[in-house]
């Protein structure tokens, strides 16, 4: 923990001393992801000040403005994010933008950094450097998991993690959006609105019949759905869904794809998945990660025909 703080201080220091480094976003070394955002204005007017520090300040102001422009309408904005574990770069200068209301599929071979990316977005892991913004201007690197979850980013894990000692209903009840104070929970009363909400979610996730079952006794697919139900209960702006159909039957996979499309009507969703059939069934824009950075992006057909992608998937 202290490491990351030190790291952060060091980064800030570096940002101070070399403003035209990673502080200027899409002009950085990984422009691939930043197509939709224009920033020609910054490049257009070189600024020379008689005083070096004034130059620094000016550059930083411009950089900030550029960022603000770039981020304004995004829901999730990752820029130049890097994270390494013991020298291994799990995420390497990753830049990724999700628009509001978008549903995005992320594919990539094992070790491409998908899970680490999720960890960074949800606050479990702090990046070594780079920016992570939510809803335009919330810097996610400054918040912990609980705060990020409360802001409206929900996450479903690769391995379904539900509260096995609780019933399906209680799992959802604990996840319902609402105050998160401890003493509030102590004096909490179940009310009509809460029951209705739970009812809706149970129906959406096809778990109504199992509402009193302990989560431990659910089948694998049901646990996946329960976890998605818990996500819905949080009513998040953005859902991060990690391999939702791993280990599912074809029928279940179909059903899950339908469920996700349904959800995507009211939420932004990022799905990480291996299963190409499933991704095709989703029918959304696809980003392919490789070795911690974006390899290709576009429709599934475009991505799957990209020679770089073909090389990564087939070439080894």
């Amino acid at each position: 923990m202290s490491d990351s703080i030190i790291q952060k201080v060091a980064d800030e220091f570096r940002a101070l001393s070399e403003p035209q480094g990673n502080a200027r976003p899409p002009a950085g070394p990984a422009p691939a992801a930043a197509e939709p955002v224009g920033n020609g204005a910054v490049h257009g007017e070189p600024f020379v000040s008689p005083h070096p520090y004034a130059t620094v300040l000016h550059d930083r102001r411009l950089a900030a403005e550029a960022q603000g422009l770039a981020r304004r309408d995004t829901l999730l904005y990752l820029n130049g994010v890097t994270k390494s574990f013991d020298g291994f770069k799990a995420i390497n200068n990753l830049s990724l933008v999700i628009q509001k209301g978008e549903m995005r599929a992320i594919i990539g071979p094992n070790g491409a950094g998908k899970t680490t990316m999720m960890d960074i977005i949800t606050g479990k892991t702090r990046p070594d450097k780079g920016e992570v913004f939510f809803a335009g201007d919330v810097d996610l690197t400054h918040h912990d998991e609980a705060a990020i979850a409360s802001m409206g980013i929900g996450r479903k894990f690769q391995k379904p993690t539900v509260f096995e000692s609780h019933t399906v209903e209680d799992n959802i009840r604990l996840s319902l959006a609402g105050p998160r104070s401890v003493l509030g929970a102590l004096v909490h009363r179940k009310d009509r609105a809460e029951r209705d909400r739970i009812e809706t979610i149970l129906e959406t996730t096809r778990l109504t019949a199992r509402r009193k079952t302990y989560a431990a006794n659910l089948s694998h697919g049901q646990k996946q759905w329960l976890e998605i139900g818990m996500l819905l209960a949080q009513d998040p702006e953005l859902l991060l869904v990690d391999e939702p159909v791993a280990g599912m039957t074809d029928a279940e996979t179909e059903e899950t794809a339908r469920l996700l499309r349904e959800i995507a009507q009211h939420h932004s969703v990022v799905v990480v998945e291996h299963d190409m059939h499933f991704v095709r069934a989703l029918g959304v824009k696809v980003t392919c990660l490789h070795e911690g950075s974006v390899l290709s992006e576009g429709t599934l057909d475009k991505v799957s025909n990209d020679p770089k992608v073909i090389e990564v998937y087939l070439g080894r």
Binding site: M1, S2, F85, D86, A90, T116, D119, K124, T125
Partner: protein
């Protein structure tokens, strides 16, 4: 004290100047030795000693040494004095002057010549005066040392004479220091005292500091005073330096004890995740094995006593390892994946083992002796280094290195690491995981047993032995970082040194409390210990 100085003086003068000439005319020493016989008061004994010292006959040294060591006896029937050596229920007796054997006598017929500390001191002084002129440089050295601490102005002249005829440089230096200490308290001129202060400043130990301080307070002469004060500052700096060194040394030594106690736990707890509350009892079993080995050697092969620890080491490893093996097979293996439950079960085992040892060996302390190479100390500057502490440090490091080698270089170590990292995968690769578990636990327990051999040299061997180390061991492993042997090493040494640097200021109790609080605070900063396992699979 004063009286003994006077004998010493007398003896010294005698030996140096008169003895060679008049020795033949003096009273027969053998007859004087016989005066030790019969019931007598300590004062009587002391008088006989001084009488013997006055003979100046080096032959009486045998009887005096026997007296000091409590080996001098007199026969009840005729009050004749002999040197006695116990042999079963009898004494073998020897002539006090010649050392010739004089047969065996039942114990009941002999009475010991009673001694106490003041008698032993008198004997030492007498022996000193008798042997100052002796050929042995070591004995002359000892005499000079004695004179140094006595610091008697009347000794200046005899010392001058001795210095003049001394050939051994080392002894000569000691004699000069002795002379300087005497000069300081004499009424010699100030310049001479200033010179003496310089000599003492070069000696630079606590005794010379005391003398100089006393002198600086007493003298009126500005020159001598200044010299003394300069010397005092120099000595104080020297002492302060060596005090720090001493603290480091003590810290390392305490650290090595902690390391020994914790290193087995670093395996059973650190590597296997078993919260082994019976770890201390494994250490205890090792210590008791040492006891049994020594008892066996004492009765059957006394000559092997010096090697008893080396014999005990493998046995302790095997015995404690076997107990560990039984524990693992019978208990722990049912509890993998439930670390907190191993705490309860092993706590139960620790109670049972403690009571078992209490039942078998009795509740009181057992005697484990130190072989000669583990006894005594030597001086390094102003710091005294105990042989047993030194060997324990060396031993702890050797055990650490060996364990590291086992883990990193042997097939067993490879399999162990494989099993702890991914049990299922290891099993799929054909590793017999139950066997590896059993061996790992036995190894950890065996190492604890080995630690017990070393700890038996400095601590009680009692059923409570393990209890004293268990908490500290867990602190060390957790502080260092679970699952990392290097963490255990650094953790143990750090805690040892911090503790020893705190002790002089805070006292033993507060020092320990502070260390505990520091550990608690440290864990806040690094919740996984000093050498935390890193990587993205470690759950935050």
């Amino acid at each position: 004290m004063n009286r003994s100085i006077r004998w010493l003086l007398a003896g010294l003068a005698f030996v140096l100047f008169v003895a060679p000439a008049v020795a033949q005319q003096a009273a027969d020493p053998a007859a004087i030795v016989q005066k030790f016989g019969g019931k007598q008061s300590y004062d009587d004994t002391e008088a006989v000693i001084s009488e013997l010292a006055r003979t100046g006959d080096a032959n009486v040294a045998r009887a005096l040494r026997a007296l000091r060591d409590g080996d001098l006896y007199w026969r009840e029937s005729d009050e004749a004095v002999f040197i006695g050596k116990r042999k079963g229920d009898d004494y073998e007796i020897f002539d006090p002057m010649t050392g010739e054997a004089a047969g065996t006598v039942p114990r009941g017929e002999m009475q010991k010549v009673r001694v106490k500390n003041s008698i032993r001191n008198a004997v030492t002084t007498a022996l000193g005066s008798l042997t100052l002129g002796a050929d042995s440089a070591a004995q002359r050295m000892r005499a000079a040392e004695t004179l140094f601490s006595e610091a008697d102005p009347e000794m200046i002249e005899p010392l001058d004479a001795a210095i003049a005829s001394e050939e051994d440089a080392g002894v000569k230096a000691r004699m000069e220091e002795a002379r300087a200490s005497a000069v300081l308290v004499s009424d010699r001129p100030a310049e001479e005292k200033a010179a003496a202060a310089k000599i003492l400043a070069n000696r630079a130990d606590r005794e010379s500091l005391t003398m100089l301080t006393r002198f600086a307070g007493a003298t009126d002469d500005p020159v001598a005073k200044q010299a003394a004060e300069a010397a005092i500052v120099a000595i104080q700096n020297n002492i302060a330096f060596w005090n720090q060194m001493q603290n480091v040394w003590y810290g390392l030594s305490l650290g090595s004890v902690l390391l020994l106690a914790a290193i087995g736990l670093a395996i059973t707890f650190g590597v296997m995740g078993v919260i082994n509350m019976a770890h201390g009892e494994m250490v205890m079993i090792g210590a008791y094995t040492t006891y049994v080995v020594q008892e066996f050697i004492r009765t059957n092969a006394p000559g092997l006593f010096e090697y008893s620890l080396f014999i005990a080491l493998p046995l302790a490893f095997l015995v404690a390892g076997a107990v560990g093996l039984v524990m693992e097979r019978g208990l722990i293996r049912f509890l993998y994946g439930r670390p907190l439950e191993t705490l309860l079960a092993t706590f139960g085992v620790s109670l049972i083992l403690q009571q078992a040892v209490r039942t078998i060996f009795g509740p009181s302390n057992r005697e484990v002796g130190n072989p000669d190479f583990m006894s005594g100390a030597f001086d390094l500057g102003l710091m005294s280094v105990n042989w047993n502490r030194l060997w324990i440090i060396v031993f702890a490091l050797v055990v650490f290195a060996a364990l590291l080698a086992v883990l990193n270089k042997t097939p067993l170590g490879l399999q162990m690491r494989a099993v702890t990292q991914n049990r299922k995968m290891a099993a799929a690769m054909g590793i017999r995981t139950p066997w590896v578990d059993a061996m790992t636990f036995a190894l950890g327990s065996g190492i604890a047993g080995i630690a017990g051999v070393a700890l038996s040299q400095i601590d009680n061997v009692s059923p409570n032995l393990g209890q004293g180390y268990i908490i500290d061991s867990f602190m060390v492993v957790v502080f260092g970082g679970v699952g990392n042997l290097w963490g255990t090493l650094v953790g143990a040494m750090t805690l040892g040194i911090v503790n020893k640097f705190l002790e002089p200021f805070a006292g033993a109790v507060l020092g320990k409390i502070v260390v505990l609080v520091l550990i608690i605070l440290f864990i806040q900063k690094r919740p996984r210990g000093l050498f935390a396992q890193k990587g993205r699979f470690v759950e935050a």
